[in-house]
């Protein structure tokens, strides 16, 4: 167990490392390499690995709001409108139900 200030120093270093290491490694992959298109898909897979379990952990109501939010975003491409709909839905569910 450590005091919070130690975490406040160490955590940014870890985060910076995750950001820097990928950029450094990318210089070893050629532009026309067959690995390049595969590299493009890895971040999507990694994000989905956090998104899908996180979505499944929500209540039924939250999941319904998520579906509405994603459908709105899919068709409008407008992040602000979609977020207003999503957060508005979450708050409405909290106060009305």
């Amino acid at each position: 167990m450590v005091e919070p200030w130690i975490v406040l120093v160490a955590l940014p270093i870890v985060l910076y490392f995750t950001r820097a290491i990928g950029v450094v490694l990318s210089s070893y992959v050629a532009e026309d390499s067959p690995y390049r298109s595969t590299l493009l898909i890895l971040p999507i897979c990694a994000m989905m690995a956090f998104f899908i379990p996180g979505a499944l952990k929500g209540s039924l109501l939250e999941q319904a709001m998520l579906v509405v939010f994603l459908v709105v975003f899919w068709f409008t491409n407008n992040s602000i409108v979609s977020m207003v709909v999503g957060i508005g839905g979450l708050l409405a569910a909290k106060f009305l139900l």
Binding site: V2, V14, S27, M47, I87, L90
Partner: protein
């Protein structure tokens, strides 16, 4: 218009939603007993919402160092793949600029950078995105800390799910930005569902997803090259 300013303007929408998420973070931090300056320092130096939320969830007078660091690394490990995919943009830049601006390279920079095929100087563009998102992130955190007292904890908890919505939005943007990924993405999603239902650790889920998506995409790519 130069590409830095184009990046700033293009990220106004996603930056605003990030600000909302940061406001929720600020309010949640107060509810968890995080001091004002500690919360601001987390946003200023960590600058990664999902990691910050995970960290404040176990905040206290003392913290389990290994747990915080390992979980922070695992949650942020997607940055490694994002860096590998778009890292060539940083090549050829002055060293100090390159390593300073890597700090501002986040999900939003990556997503908008991937979509910006029309941009000539992607490095400047990504810097513009990073500058705006960072500013909005800090302002959002500050506002959240200020209004925290007037929000019920249950309201803050109910809004925590907005983080998942935000992540879902980024996934959709990435899927729409590039075509030809459909089969590997579906396979990766199936893998995630199976591993989740098997109750394995988050890191294993991510590894499984990345492996299945990556290997299937590589196989399809090599097969299409072979067939000409």
């Amino acid at each position: 218009m130069d590409d830095f300013r184009r990046g700033v303007l293009d990220s106004l929408g996603l930056g605003s939603t990030a600000a909302i998420f940061a406001t929720i973070f600020g309010a949640a931090a107060v509810a968890q007993g995080v001091e004002f300056m500690e919360a601001m320092a987390l946003s200023a130096f960590v600058f990664a919402g999902s990691v910050q939320f995970a960290t404040i969830s176990i905040w206290g007078d003392t913290l389990p160092f290994a747990t915080v660091i390992v979980s922070g690394f695992l949650i942020a490990s997607r940055n490694i793949f994002m860096g590998m995919a778009l890292g060539h943009v940083f090549v050829g830049q002055p060293t100090w600029q390159k390593y300073l601006k890597i700090f501002f390279y986040t999900d939003v920079s990556y997503v908008l950078g991937m979509k910006a095929d029309h941009i000539k100087n992607k490095f400047a563009y990504i810097c513009g995105v990073g500058a705006l998102v960072y500013s909005f992130w800090m302002i959002g955190t500050f506002v959240g800390l200020l209004i925290a007292e007037s929000l019920q904890k249950s309201v803050v908890d109910s809004l925590a799910y907005a983080g998942i919505m935000y992540l879902g939005m980024l996934v959709i943007m990435l899927m729409k930005a590039k075509d030809g990924f459909k089969v590997p993405i579906v396979l990766a999603a199936i893998t995630i569902l199976v591993l989740y239902w098997l109750g394995v650790e988050q890191f294993v889920i991510m590894l499984g997803s990345v492996l299945v998506g990556g290997v299937s995409n590589l196989w399809l790519e090599l097969r299409s090259r072979k067939n000409g």
